[in-house]
């Protein structure tokens, strides 16, 4: 189970990227499947070539950003449907990823990866490594929270929330969508580079179906913890990623094989999307909505509403 937590924390980086497009921009971005591998391939090849791991990870982030920019340009300047734009970039990236890797996979065994460096410092698998990963993910989460609270970040949120309105205040929503896609795919590629270093190799097929893992983490986490503020929403995504890995781990222990993983992911996303619409869960959600809107409608408890709404 400790390995599941480690993996969950690593994949949380990607889930945060998916959160930026899927939730904040309301634009499900399928580039992820390709840009994840791009990040892994870029970092792996650089590390094998002798580049220090941190630098290789920065390069992976940038490579992913470029992939996001391509999707963004196709979608905004090319007026191509967002889903299709993502698919086009994803398919194109397959060939590019093969070019980067030079072969179907590149081994990182014995190379100076980030995890190798941690091992040398005495931090190998287990609680210590989890501690390091938690710090890393929290730092990224806090950066995203901060970014979303800046003027640009607010404009990004409004772009996904009410495009017409934010345009009427002079924001180019095209540009905002590109900013979101660039950041998102940068994070996804960074996660790819981490996964490659963690498992000791980069493989051309490692990103296949990954968008589902991201969506599952976002949807499961936010179904449980909600999205009242950015702080809660991003936290929910991180915990959702860990829950997702734990669920996969349990499925494997029950007797399913790694070959069943994609099916499990798909079913998990379906469950997370359907359950909130059913009976008990729906009622509890309604109650939450009513609880937050009643004081708002009643002027005498206005200040109470203000207090309860100030989540930050």
């Amino acid at each position: 189970m400790l390995i599941a937590v480690e993996l969950g924390l690593i994949y949380a980086v990607m889930a945060l990227g998916v959160y930026l497009t899927f939730r904040v921009l309301d634009l499900p971005d399928l580039t992820v499947d390709g840009s994840f591998t791009t990040g892994a391939a870029t970092a792996a090849v650089l590390i094998v070539g002798g580049t220090p791991a941190p630098l290789a990870m920065v390069a992976a982030f940038l490579a992913g950003s470029v992939a996001g920019l391509v999707t963004g340009l196709l979608h905004t300047k090319g007026n191509i449907n967002g889903l299709l734009a993502g698919i086009l970039t994803m398919i194109g990236l397959y060939s590019i990823n093969l070019r980067i890797l030079g072969q179907a996979n590149v081994s990182l065994l014995g190379e100076d990866t980030m995890f190798q460096a941690l091992r040398v410092m005495g931090i190998s698998r287990g609680p210590l490594l989890i501690g390091v990963l938690v710090i890393m993910v929290v730092v990224i989460k806090v950066i995203i929270d901060w970014f979303l609270a800046t003027d640009v970040g607010l404009a990004l949120q409004a772009t996904g929330d009410n495009e017409e309105m934010i345009r009427s205040f002079g924001v180019s929503t095209d540009r905002m969508k590109m900013v979101g896609l660039v950041l998102s795919n940068g994070l996804v590629a960074l996660c790819g580079s981490l996964v490659a270093q963690y498992q000791g190799f980069a493989d051309i097929g490692m990103g296949v179906g990954l968008i589902l893992v991201g969506l599952a983490s976002v949807i499961v986490g936010q179904a449980i913890f909600g999205t009242r503020t950015t702080f809660v929403a991003t936290g929910a995504v991180v915990i959702g990623a860990v829950i997702y890995r734990a669920a996969i781990q349990i499925a494997l222990q029950v007797g399913l094989t790694p070959n069943d993983m994609k099916l499990i992911s798909a079913i998990l996303v379906v469950i997370a999307l359907l359950v909130p619409q059913w009976g008990v869960f729906r009622r509890s959600r309604r109650r939450r909505v009513r609880a937050s809107s009643t004081p708002a409608a009643n002027p005498t408890t206005r200040s109470a509403a203000g207090d309860s709404a100030s989540g930050r």
Binding site: L154, A158, D161, R167, S168
Partner: protein
Amino acid sequence: MLHVDGVHKTFFPNTVNERRALRGIDLYLDHGEFVTVIGSNGAGKSTMLNAIAGKVAPDEGRIWIDDAEVTKQRDHVRAKVVGRVFQNPMAGTSPDLTIEQNMALAYKRGHTRGLGRGVTKDKKEFFAEELTKLELGLEDRLTAKAGLLSGGQRQALSLLMATFSHPKILLLDEHTAALDPQRADLVTRLTEKVVAEQNLTTLMVTHNMAQALQVGTRLIMMHEGEVILDIGHEEKQAMSVDDLLAEFSRIKGAQLDDRTLLQ
């Protein structure tokens, strides 16, 4: 301040659905003029506002704002000098963001958006002060999500957001039409107040002829894509709804009652 010169717009040209929405609109607004716009459905009122805002590209004609030609500027670029309030109360605010975050977005109209904090302590104080003017108690609910507000509250907030960032032109597209009479009155009062305070050059489309006569400094009537009547402040004040209808009949040579015009 605003100059619309010979603007034509035809939707779906050369098809069975062809609709000539604007047939040569000429309009000149001085700084601080508050013009109400009336006309039946399909008269081209909204299309004219959309052409000024940059949402609709004219087929012919040119538009200037404050001596700068904006005909080819995209809507979000023009938004630096054009404030808008829409008919749908949900359209003017971002429901998932808080009141203060919405105001922070509006506050940055016409400025570069960087990585500075969107909502700072100073801004909060300023927002609360501005919200006090609405007399809706929203200043105590800065951190409530805009989606939780009622239609009237959201529309009042939209109006404040559209105006406190000092646009050169304010466009109001039937912004009270979706509200109940009481809230509509409130928003109309607020509109008059803020337009007067900031001396904003304003175009307000309305379906309510009494309101069109009562509010603003000038009235124009549109029909089938043309401005058919343009009356100034004094003349307007002396007029009743019946006079207005009679004038319309005289120009168009047709018998119309208030109801047909309102349709």
